[in-house]
Amino acid sequence: MQMQSLAFDVSHTLAGGLVLISLMMLYQDRLYSLLNVFALHALVLSLSVAWQAFIQDAPHLYVTAFIALVFKAIIIPVALHRIVKQLGIHRDIESAVGIGPTMLAGMGLVALSLVLMLRVTSDADPLAREDLAFALSVVLLGLLVMVTRRNAVSQVVGFMSLENGLVLAATGAKGMPLVVEISVAFSILIAFIVIGIFLFRIRERFDSVDVSALDDFRGERR
């Protein structure tokens, strides 16, 4: 029983930490710091997944944790750092909405997901419940980052933090088949390749990764 409660507390802390870091993302107004926060996000995710692997006695989850650590906490932030540097857009990110309303919306979303998930999962075991509630918060906050940013790089970061929330949910669901974990990691990889190509192309064509710069052409508006 002692072990049980330690397991619960640690995973609780880690999942809660993820939500907190997601909230931190909302008010980063420099691209570099946003990337750093994202790296931290991925690091905490990998810790959380590794802890789940340990307490569920599911060694395959270590693979997921490893991928999160190497790929998302190191490779992607470094690569994005370089892209940002090359493009010379490190100075600022203009968010579409101010920080105050964004933070309020973020808190609202966390409250919403807690209320929703805790209510509908009253029969499930407490660990899975809270994990799911936190995961939904991370997903929704990731969405919020995506909507409030105009810059392509920060939208990508928002999307990846959203994916982190999904991984958190998938690993929290005890015994979920391996297929899904690998596929999640794999599709993130594909997604990143796609994004990489896009960034590359966008830079090539316009010398800008500001999505609003792409907004001028529409069939109807002319």
Binding site: V139, A191, V194, D216
Partner: protein, 483 residues
Amino acid sequence: MTLPFFDPVTAVLLIPISSAALLAALPGYRLTARLNVLASLATFLSALCLFVMERSPPGPYVLIDDLNIVFIVLNTFVGFTTSIFSASYIAHELETGRLTPTYLRFYHAMYQTMMFGMNLAFVSNNIGLMWVAVELATLTTVLMVGIYRTHAALEAAWKYFILGSVGIALALFGTILVYMAARPVMGEGQDGMVWTLLVERAANFDAALLNVAFVFLFLGYGTKVGLAPLHAWLPDAHAEGPTPISAVLSGLLLNVALYALLRFKILLAANPASIAPGPLMVTMGLVSLIFAAFMLYRRRDIKRLFAYSSIEHMGIIVFAFGMGGPLANFAGLLHMVMHSLTKSAIFYAVGHISQIKGTQRISRIRGLTVTHPALGWGLVVGVVAIAGLPPLGIFMSEFLVVSSTFARQPLLAIVLVFGLLLAFGALTLRLTSVAFGEPRGSTAPADASYIPMFAHLALVLGAGIYLPSPLVVWFQHVAQLLG
């Protein structure tokens, strides 16, 4: 019939993926375009074998039942005809230099990968695998939408990518929730994601969790179906990519997401304590229909016009499935098949037309029936079909949807008919200006492949006049399955 060395299920997956690898490696337009057609034909023929083969019991990953055979055959057939259209369309693009040979190689490889992804989504019995397959198909189409690398194409691809990813992420969350709901009953591990096993025991699942799961799945896959207000990616993606891709997007990819939704709808129907998915689907369907019908009036771009028409028709189909019951399901299924055939035929015509005229703006295209009779009249027949006029197939399916709704919910039927008439008005308005009147724009002769377009239209006409009874029996059976 069983052949020891030939398994159609493996074939519909293996042919596309191996030819994708081959097409990525081979140079030369003529060879690769032909190979693309050939591979698609082989896939289609293998899909036809699904009708006659002995079905093996559903495994942990693969399932073949009456429902998905309809989808697979439709998918591979339209994939095949589109590959023929694509061959002549791409030849023109190479001439004008919009595509380079390297991109062409990429294009063909992506085309087959997309077919693989869609077929995999249809045959998968594992809800996790199905999700992966849908995502794969989405990513390949994103790349193809952006292939022209113009401002507009990149914007469209980016928007499609972002919205598609969000949708697909929500769908994954829903999938995880389904597993969570099933876990107390199914136990941990593999079985908790196998659809056939889930349906068998769904009655004991945690209903509240299942409800939330369905909402996520509905929003997630609904984004990919193009339901308003989640449709924002759809018109751009249709308008800016190569036209063969618009044809498969409208005709096929929307169906894939719809298919995923239907699977989960069946799952929910098996649990008496959970919410009925019907009202949700009916509402979103009607909203999409009405919204798209109004938007049709304001289109200036011919591909966007038909993209909105796809939203409208997906709305009708989702509405029909949402109503449920044998008749409405039958109508929805028929409408889906008819819409796929008609819409892709229209895009074949539109593709050639916009190539000849060098523009997609409706105001610069006039008098097509005079200058290009085959294309012009093909388009006229296509639009008449899509607007729901007799004697073509869509009239029949729309009639079935409306009449079955009138019998049960007269008020909803009035809204439905209002939407249909609205869309009809918009389409006729645009059609008359494009097809008739004083010719405008280039009158260069068309180097078009007419066979795919007329084959589709002939099928739609045939279905409108007479549906063969084996087909009716099959559809009735599937409608029963859908509950």
